[in-house]
Amino acid sequence: MNYELPEDLRLLRDTVRKFAADRIGPNARAWDREGVIPAETLREMASLGLMGILVPEELGGAGIGYLGMSVVVEELARQCGGTALVVAAHNGLCCGHILVAGNAAQKQKYLPPLAHGEMLGAWALTEPGSGSDAAALRTTAVRDGDGFVLNGSKNFITNGDKAGVFVVMARTDPEAPKAKGISAFLVERGTPGLEIGPKEDKLGMRASDTVPLGFHDCRVPAANLLGELNAGFLDTLKVLERGRITIGALSVGLGRGALEESLKYSGEREQFGKPINRHQSIQFMLADMAVRVDAARLLVRKAAWLQDSGRTSNLESSIGKLYASEMATQVCLDAIQIHGGYGYLKDWPVERLMRDAKLCEIGEGSSQIQRMIIARALLDLPK
């Protein structure tokens, strides 16, 4: 693995860093409060190529792979976790699944508008009764003439409030073992029978919307079957294997943000006659935070590099996601501690970063699921 980013990604990093500092950071507090990102910002991100990170250039995307994804998402999350999550779910999950499983016609139809930011993408796996045990999902899709009819409900769907298209996992063979009877479907906004529920009132990641979905005899054309019939869960696992790289990168951005804010604050704040960063106990906290941020970034990039070189990163994605997400929460808590009472106020960004960070330990496979995946790989246990 090359530890130095290639030249094009260094340039991209600098561009996104500046964009995020100018256009996202100053608004992040308002977006967190109001629970919305302006459409204008999404358009600006699309014009930078950030809505088609994985999509090949011929389909209107940037085609910069998972290393590119990890760079972009880290920079966005440095300023606002919610904004980064919108980009992560759109690119990694929705576009990612279409790239993994879609046929030429589906890619041609959906990826250009997604990459151009004309349409936001969402991905619907989780249900009220199936979170970590995702294969236990109960939404059904029944073949009916030249289409499928979906019934059931989904929840915790990122981008669902505004998405133009949803990738939805549903059970197509109730007789098969639970992971072997699942298929994925492309469901467009406005399809009769698709009900988009109210936005959840979340602890963090508030700039990104999260909604429940209802499917009531929701009919989609057979052409919207994404991937092979009954093989949807395998594709889902592939999407998650890669999606975890993105959540890892998001965590790195949050941790770095907390560290940078702490460095700044501790240089300004004086107690006992000197800046608090001259006290060893604060210095040691900063040092430990920096080590963890670095370790997390290296683990995430290792997984990204494996993906981009065409290899599997199942173990490495989980290692990176687990370490980075737990790092982010810990580092954000330490940042609040360094800020003292001010860190407990919404006036200071670390309070928001900490709330955003907690999601990373839960979404796209909780820490407990990551540990299970890692242990199974090491112990060679049945999956």
């Binding site: 941020v293 683990l299 490495e316």
Partner: protein
């Protein structure tokens, strides 16, 4: 950590095979007080491990630090004592190559791969550990020679070592000014060596008190500029820390493998330990930390190989790897239960061996100071 080339890959593989077949059982014996690593020095030298990083023009293998770390990792996996022995010898060679005057480089380095050239650092003293500027060993000029008087402590390779890179005060006063690094021949008259007994771990490696009583060293043996001894020492430690980080990670990897093996073998409540989530989590957490340590080491090594000086990177690798290795060894003993508490079980020894890694070549506290200073100066990058 990864090999730079196919030949590096073969070297790492050779180190692994050799360490596991030839060193591991010996290391267990050394731990019981029967012999030391000195008995295998000729073999280690013959394998090329005495001279890993020096360029081929000096008779070295010319490996990058990435490969160096991977070799130390493999050696430490089987023998933590052999690993630290090699770390020190290789780093002494590195320092000589960087700072020794031409005549010393020309006479010493072509032989650095031979067991007779065994090297050591003599920096710490009873009163100067984390603060080497408190060193009191003196080197007074008499004609063409320095005359050294004083006592150094915790000297790895100290009983058998031939060449001592020694920190001594060359001008009167106290503090960091006036300290110089001087190469002292261990065969010179007046050098005393006493073993330090009762170490908790790495008992197969030599640790000694070295005393200098009117020991003469030619003035030409000055390494770097007079008065710049601490700077020379810091450069040595930059690479040295990568070695200790790799040593700790090798021990951690051995602990992890012992955990996996035991989890499969041991049955309780009618099933293998490996089927319990509590056990799986201990193994998963350990694997994550080993992976993170390896990446931090690889990154720091890559910076050195590209000539980018960033002492904080080596400190981050050393801090994380050694602290993590201690946590992993703790889990390994815990997972083995009562078995892990007796010497018959290898993890009992590894638990003791790993403890020193957060102490020597800069304690964890010193690493945090270095990292924090770099952060306050340069910010996050």
């Amino acid at each position: 950590m990864a090999a730079d080339t196919a030949s590096d890959e073969m070297l790492i593989h050779a180190a692994r095979e050799f360490a596991r077949s030839e060193l591991q059982d010996r290391d267990r014996r050394w731990d019981r007080g029967e012999g030391t690593v000195v008995e295998v020095l000729p073999t280690l030298a013959e394998m090329g491990f005495f001279n890993i990083v020096l360029p081929e023009s000096c008779g070295g293998l010319g490996c990058g630090y990435d490969t160096y770390a991977a070799i130390i990792h493999e050696i430490a996996y089987a023998s933590p004592s052999a690993a630290v022995t090699l770390c020190v010898h290789n780093m002494v060679g590195h320092v000589l190559n960087l700072f020794a005057p031409a005549h010393l480089r020309e006479t010493l380095l072509p032989h650095w791969g031979e067991p007779e050239s065994f090297g050591a650092f003599a920096i710490s003293e009873a009163g100067a550990g984390s603060d080497p500027s408190a060193s009191r060993t003196r080197a007074d000029r008499h004609g063409d020679s320095f005359v050294l008087n004083g006592e150094k402590m915790w000297i790895t390779n100290g009983l058998t070592g031939r060449w001592f890179v020694t920190l001594a005060r060359t001008s009167p006063g106290t503090g960091k000014n006036g300290l110089s690094m001087i190469l002292v021949d261990g065969n010179a008259a007046g050098v005393g060596r006493d073993p330090i007994h009762g170490k908790m771990g790495i008992r197969g490696s030599e640790t000694a008190v070295i005393s200098f009583s009117d020991v003469k060293a030619p003035c030409d043996n000055l390494l770097g500029e007079e008065g710049e001894g601490l700077a020379v020492g810091l450069t040595a430690l930059n690479g040295g820390r990568i070695g200790i980080a790799a040593q700790a990670t090798g021990i951690a990897a051995a602990c992890l493998d012992e955990m996996i093996k035991f989890a499969h073998e041991r049955e309780q409540f009618g099933t293998q330990l490996s089927s319990f989530q509590a056990i799986q989590q201990m193994i998963a957490d350990s694997a994550v930390e080993v992976a993170a340590a390896r990446e931090l080491i690889g990154y720091a090594a890559d910076l050195i190989d590209r000539g980018q000086l960033d002492p904080a990177a080596s400190s981050k690798a050393k801090l994380f790897a050694t602290e993590a290795a201690n946590r992993i060894a703790y889990r390994a003993v815990q997972l083995h239960g009562g078995m892990g508490y007796v010497n018959e079980c290898r993890v009992e020894q590894l638990y003791r061996d790993v403890r020193v890694t957060t102490i020597y070549e800069g304690t964890s506290e010193i690493q945090r100071l270095i990292i924090a200073r770099a952060l306050l100066k340069d910010g996050v990058h």
